[in-house]
């Protein structure tokens, strides 16, 4: 079976090469094709690039790069947000952040959500995708039901669920009406439960996205492989384990990456359901809610910006590691130096 995997990955590689060559990029490691002259970028060519990429670059610099730089700058000040910052405190904000218990707790919650998202959503989404990949009745209905939560806005979900899950809300009312009143809990306010409630909501909301990704990935598995395996007498589960999963791996890796980034930046659902104050009490605070609570709401804008920088750095480090070690095969040449073959 390892043969097949290698074959497909080299196939993929050559496809990428083709795309690269088509894109006009000069690639030193490839033999130059005689009928295509390498085009240097003269003045006119640069102008063309400037005109075509200029507006997008301006927007990106103005709304992404500039705020990041400004946040790093403000992070060195003690600043209440009125008028320009003047009280330079160097790295003091950063020392306070890393020693603050509330921040450590928030980071812990982020990491817990990150791991649990992968552990809970991954297997469940793969099983659902396999289930939905066959012809069956009501397939499209199930697809819609699974995908709808992902489409609903976080604000709507948060508002609705915070009403339903509150102590006297519809959910506990439902449990009582079917005689399970002993199961009724303080789903949102009980510190030992709240994070699991949040996990449940996140799984329900984002699993649709994973399922759709995996379904698309499954489309890419050649039918012949299944036929050949079936002829060789492999059982259904063997086929899934030996063929489907390995071929889904690139999709899985990309999904996991998106999931990790999402878990690190989680803000909206927590903020709406728990408000900015109760999240730390209930044990569902995240780095982003900590930033808003200790930055904007406390009027410490310098401190808040320093927290933003810390979140940025943590996310960047995790993302770079992931790309370097996990996504390496999928993004070869895009971010890493391509080794000459």
């Amino acid at each position: 079976m390892s043969n097949t995997r290698e074959k497909t990955s080299t196939e993929k590689g050559s496809k990428a090469d083709l795309a690269q060559r088509g894109g006009g990029g000069a690639n030193a490691s490839l033999p130059p094709k005689p009928r295509r002259r390498r085009r240097g970028f003269g003045w006119a060519g640069r102008m063309e690039i400037a005109i075509l990429a200029g507006p997008a670059a301006l927007v990106f610099i103005g709304f992404v790069i500039f705020p990041v730089v400004m946040a790093a700058y403000y992070g060195f000040f003690r600043w209440n947000g009125y008028g320009p910052p003047t009280d330079f405190v160097g790295l003091q904000n950063y020392f306070v952040i890393v020693t603050d218990k509330a921040f450590q707790e928030a980071l812990g919650h982020n990491l817990f959500i990150l791991v649990m998202s992968l552990v809970l959503q991954g297997p469940a989404a793969i099983l659902l995708a396999l289930l939905l990949n066959r012809k069956m009745r009501g397939q499209s209905l199930i697809r819609v039901l699974i995908f709808v939560p992902y489409v609903i806005s976080e604000v709507v979900v948060g508002t609705g669920l915070s009403l339903m899950l509150s102590t006297n809300g519809a959910f506990n009312g439902f449990l009582e009406s079917i005689g399970l009143s002993s199961w009724a809990h303080d789903w949102l306010a009980d510190p030992s439960l709240a994070i699991w409630t949040l996990m449940g909501i996140l799984t329900w909301k984002y699993i649709g996205f994973a399922v759709i990704l995996f379904l698309a990935g499954l489309q890419g598995v050649p039918e012949e492989l299944y036929e050949a395996a079936a002829l060789d007498g492999a059982s259904y589960w063997q086929i899934q384990w030996r063929i489907t999963l390995p071929l889904l791996a690139p999709t899985l890796r990309i999904w996991a990456f998106l999931s990790v980034i999402g878990a690190l930046q989680l803000f909206d659902l927590v903020y709406i359901i728990w408000g900015q104050y109760v999240a730390s009490t209930a044990g569902t605070s995240t780095m982003a809610t900590y930033m808003v609570s200790n930055g904007r709401d406390a009027g410490n804008f310098g401190y808040g910006n320093a927290v933003a920088v810390v979140i940025f750095l943590i996310s960047l480090i995790i993302a770079l590691f992931y790309q370097r070690f996990v996504l390496r095969r999928d993004t070869q040449g895009a971010l890493t130096e391509r080794k000459a073959k």
Binding site: Y82, N168, G299
Partner: protein
């Protein structure tokens, strides 16, 4: 090549326009003597919103050259939006002013108009010095007070009498006894919107007002040092009181003012017997009753007394709601502030908001017994303090708000609460 040059020129133009559009024109334009001003207010309910629209319209009728655009911003979102607007140099001309540390910070940043010399003689005659005190910083007046909002307990007389309680509790021990009686009738004794944090913190502030002397309060506001034992004592009092479980179920995820499930909504729908709040509460409760009319059996009593504290009995805490002009506002802004402080407008304000006006002439129009009780308690008080989170400034105030919620949830204790207040100073 010509086409390319043209394109390049166009690109440069586009870039230039993008750069220019970043600095927007000021909101008030005084071309040909006509002035337009924007006003931000926080009332999302019908009558409150209508008051501002009517005031803007009638002011325009009297001064045809001045147009005022009223914008509504939800209360919990107002402060953040306002700060962003002030810093971007695109502030509203007239806006709600909460006073205290926030106002001081705005003054220091040169963002407010000094209206000391612009107060009309009528305004000075009808509004007491005490009300202006809350809007004064460094000897100058920075906002026009509109409403005095002392705090206390707003309760349902019907639910009290059902529980066999004939008079409002005068001491904390009475209150504890009443809580037990109310529990027996199956209603939540006290509604608490701890999701917004500050309503929970108010319980601590009131205990502190009973435990700490006025001097200590004012000293701590300056020094941000909570080492005086009265602060810890107040936290212990609150923990002991909360131990009796007087609050509604799920108070941690109950908001204060939004919807029937909020603490004000619980009182409005007779699901809870009382709520500790400022004097804006009758208006909020009225907007959440089933028929959206004021609650007919609403009553008020001041925060109960506590034996052995250093606070003067009868001391009261409360804020004054005022409106400020931005430093960049046109001079007509002050005229409008004088206009809404006039007796006629203040009477309309009281009717719309169901909260006590500052204008002493307009106060004579107050008929509701609970508002009369509020004014009586306020006028009798030997010491009136601003809301503690306002005096202590946003940073410490916010930390205390969160710390009180933590303590009520059992996540920390009185010592932890004081520690949190002391730690906050490191962040801002």
């Amino acid at each position: 090549m010509k086409a390319k040059k043209l394109l390049a020129g166009a690109a440069v133009l586009v870039a230039g326009m993008m750069a220019l559009s970043a600095c927007s024109a000021p909101s008030s334009n005084s071309s040909n003597g006509k002035v337009t001003m924007t006003l931000w207010q926080n009332s999302t309910t019908g009558p409150g919103q209508q008051f501002w629209k009517d005031a803007a319209a009638s002011f325009h009728t009297k001064n045809p050259n001045v147009t005022i655009k009223v914008q509504t911003v939800q209360n919990e979102a107002l402060d953040g939006k306002l700060q962003t607007a002030l810093n971007s140099g695109d502030a509203p001309d007239i806006f709600l002013q909460r006073g205290g540390g926030k106002m001081a910070a705005m003054v220091q940043a040169g963002q407010l108009m000094d209206i000391t010399g612009k107060l009309s003689s009528d305004t000075k005659a009808n509004i007491s010095q005490g009300s202006f005190k809350a809007e004064t910083y460094q000897g100058k007046v920075w906002a026009m007070p509109l409403s005095v909002l002392p705090g206390g307990l707003f309760y349902s007389k019907d639910l009290f009498s059902k529980a066999g309680i004939n008079e409002a509790p005068a001491t904390i021990d009475d209150l504890s006894a009443d809580v037990t009686k109310l529990k027996a009738t199956g209603v939540a004794p006290i509604a608490l919107g701890a999701k917004d944090a500050w309503p929970a913190a108010h319980w601590y502030y009131w205990f502190a007002l009973r435990e700490c002397s006025g001097d200590t309060m004012e000293k701590t506001a300056d020094s941000k040092d909570f080492s005086d034992p009265c602060w810890l004592k107040a936290a212990e009092d609150l923990q002991a009181f909360a131990g009796e479980k007087p609050f509604n179920n799920g108070f941690l995820t109950t908001s204060a003012q939004q919807g029937a499930g909020s603490s004000a909504g619980l009182v409005a729908n007779h699901k809870a017997a009382m709520e500790l709040m400022g004097a804006w509460d009758p208006g909020v409760i009225g907007s959440l009753t089933p028929d959206q009319k004021p609650l007919p059996d609403l009553g008020f009593y001041p925060f109960p007394e506590l034996s052995g504290g250093n606070g003067q009995p009868g001391s009261i805490m409360g804020g004054v709601d005022g409106y400020s002009c931005s430093a960049k506002a046109p001079k007509q802004c002050a005229d409008f502030l004088n206009y809404i402080a006039s007796t006629e407008q203040q009477t309309a304000y009281y009717k719309a908001y169901n909260s006590p006006p500052v204008n002493t002439e307009a106060q004579k129009a107050v008929t509701e017994p609970y508002l009369k009780d509020v004014l009586a308690a306020y006028n009798k008080a030997p010491f009136v303090s601003q809301w503690l989170d306002t005096i202590l400034g946003q940073n410490i105030g916010n930390a205390l708000n969160v710390a009180v919620v933590d303590m009520l949830a059992g996540k920390s204790d009185p010592k932890g609460l004081i520690q949190a207040a002391n730690d906050a100073a490191k962040k801002g």
